[in-house]
């Protein structure tokens, strides 16, 4: 009963952990793998018309050529980075505008009763209107260029950010506000020093919803109101029945959206280290 059984125990514990890890990885890969296999079979076995549902292999080839093919070899060859860059640029600018406006206005709504009475009804009425309904106005005021995309993305991403920020600020614990006042804080410092930090988990939830919407809206904007970017490429490919390009663009948007959400989550994790214990 000395070192030997203990070491053996540790070794078998390690082995068990590795087995459990492998199992988990297999379970998580299994779903997407099944979908891919079914998709491939559907396309290659003639269950569906391969012109309308190209196989995963066809899509992969299309994406590869789109990304790395020599420019001019075919209409799409080598143009992926330009399109993706355009879309990402619009998402970033629109999202930052939405974040700035949403956090500032949301804070004011959550903190000042009269701002809430004045502004909140306006937001609640505008919020359910689909952003696509604003496209004509965007085009009239900003033309067929970046401004339209910025406007649509910023407007759409603004709502979840402003609503969540306002809820977080209004719901900041009264106990912490009392504690800060008791410690001698100047009243105008309550918002930046106590209420906003307490609202951070809400604000980050709003930002994550906002960046997700930004990717939805950049595609909408590029299909309808701008002549470049992944959304434009999708619409263009539809005219030429290049459904492989459409699927490649869809996968690209999915990957970029996931990446940008991950970045916000990582930033949030740094800011919100404290909240894990709440």
């Amino acid at each position: 009963m000395t070192a030997v059984p203990v070491a053996a125990g540790a070794a078998s514990l390690n082995a068990a952990r590795i087995v459990a890890g492998v199992h988990l990885a297999l379970r998580r890969i299994a779903g997407p793998a099944i979908v891919l296999v079914l998709w491939h079979l559907a396309s290659t076995q003639g269950w569906v018309d391969p012109r309308f549902v190209p196989s995963p292999v066809t899509v992969l080839h299309a994406l590869q050529e789109w990304m790395f093919g020599p420019k001019g070899a075919s209409p799409y060859s080598g143009t992926w980075f330009a399109h993706a860059g355009n879309s990402a640029y619009r998402v970033i600018v629109g999202f930052l505008m939405a974040a700035a406006a949403g956090v500032i206005i949301g804070s004011l709504i959550g903190w000042f009763r009269f701002v809430s009475d004045l502004v909140d009804p306006v937001i609640q009425v505008l919020r359910p209107i689909p952003i696509t309904a604003w496209v004509p106005f965007a085009v009239i005021f900003f033309g067929i260029r970046d401004g339209s995309a910025f406007f649509l993305i910023a407007l759409g991403a603004f709502f979840p950010i402003v609503v969540n920020t306002a809820a977080g600020v209004a719901g900041a614990p009264q106990l912490l506000v009392r504690a800060a006042r008791m410690l001698g804080i100047r009243p105008y410092m309550l918002l930046p020093r106590v209420v906003l930090p307490a609202a951070m988990p809400f604000i980050f939830t709003g930002l994550r919803l906002g960046i997700g919407l930004a990717w939805v809206l950049v595609i909408v904007a590029e299909m309808m109101a701008v002549k470049s970017g992944l959304g434009f490429a999708m619409w263009d490919a539809y005219y030429f029945l290049r459904l492989d390009i459409i699927i490649a663009a869809m996968l690209s948007v999915g990957a970029l959206g996931f990446l940008s959400d991950l970045i916000i989550r990582l930033i949030g994790r740094r800011f919100l280290r404290w909240s894990r214990g709440l």
Partner: protein
């Protein structure tokens, strides 16, 4: 000042806090009726006196403390601190809450530094006070921890240090140890007494625990069931440190227990009447 004279229960010293005719009414919205939480409270608290307040739940003891801290406004009467009416919360009245109320996004050190920083005390001075305070409440080595990484007892130490560092005229404590286990609680009581006697603080301490009230207080204020009035103020003449197993301690405890029991029964009866009338 008579602070160093033994038998410090006697209210002969200078008055630090004077409470005059304090009244608090509010409307219970769900029941559509007026509630009288405090009904004419008069209380003098001497310089470096330790006053404990005991009463059944709902008797308004927290309301009394909140009015002294200026978190709530009284309907009538006033609270004087060193002869001046209190109007808004401030670092001269340091509050320790039962729920700690630490800022969870700040480290132990930043929490303790909060008041000094917000009042623009220069950094070097600030650091010095904070370091000294951290050492005196036994938090050395925990400066960079976050509140959620600490036990309840440690969190309450941070809360205490956070107000002591501001050098308050009075400590207001609302059942600060109620959420702690018995051992930690007993340890914190001793530490609090240590701080209190070493630094000559004035303190108001609310509790519903008779032993705690008798152990800590120079005087124990027993409050009535709603509407909250002062039923009796009992001076505790036992020498410190007090022995909770001694005959004298337990006699005092029994006497105060008997006073309180009547009020707890009254509070229960009132509560039962309310529930039956609601059904």
């Amino acid at each position: 000042m008579s602070g160093s004279v033994p038998g410090r229960g006697r209210p002969q010293r200078d008055q630090r806090i004077v409470v005059r005719g304090l009244r608090k009414r509010f409307i219970d919205i769900s029941r559509q009726e007026e509630v009288i939480a405090l009904d004419g409270i008069d209380l003098d608290i001497g310089d470096d006196e330790f006053l404990t307040i005991l009463g059944p739940s709902g008797c308004g003891k927290t309301t009394l403390l909140n009015i002294i801290a200026s978190f709530e406004k009284a309907t009538g009467g006033e609270v004087l601190l060193d002869g001046e009416t209190v109007r808004k919360p401030g670092p001269d009245r340091g509050v320790v809450f039962q729920e700690y109320a630490l800022f969870p996004w700040l480290t132990v050190q930043q929490n303790i530094e909060f008041g000094l920083r917000e009042r623009r005390v220069p950094r070097a001075e600030r650091r010095e006070y904070v370091q000294r305070q951290i050492a005196s409440v036994g938090l050395s080595g925990f400066e960079q921890r976050y509140p959620h990484e600490l036990s309840g007892g440690m969190r309450q130490r941070v809360a205490l240090a956070r107000v002591l560092v501001n050098n308050p005229k009075i400590l207001l404590m609302d059942e600060p140890f109620a959420a702690l286990d018995a051992q930690t609680r007993s340890m914190m009581q001793q530490e609090l007494l240590g701080v209190w006697s070493a630094e000559r603080r004035t303190a108001i301490f609310i509790t519903h625990n008779i032993e705690e009230a008798v152990l800590l207080g120079d005087r124990v204020v027993v409050m009535t069931a709603r509407p909250g009035r002062i039923k009796e103020i009992v001076a505790i003449d036992l020498p410190r440190p007090r022995d909770v197993t001694s005959t004298e301690f337990n006699q005092t405890r029994r006497r105060i227990g008997a006073l309180l029991e009547v009020e707890v029964q009254a509070a229960f009866a009132a509560m039962r009447a309310e529930t039956t009338s609601m059904q």
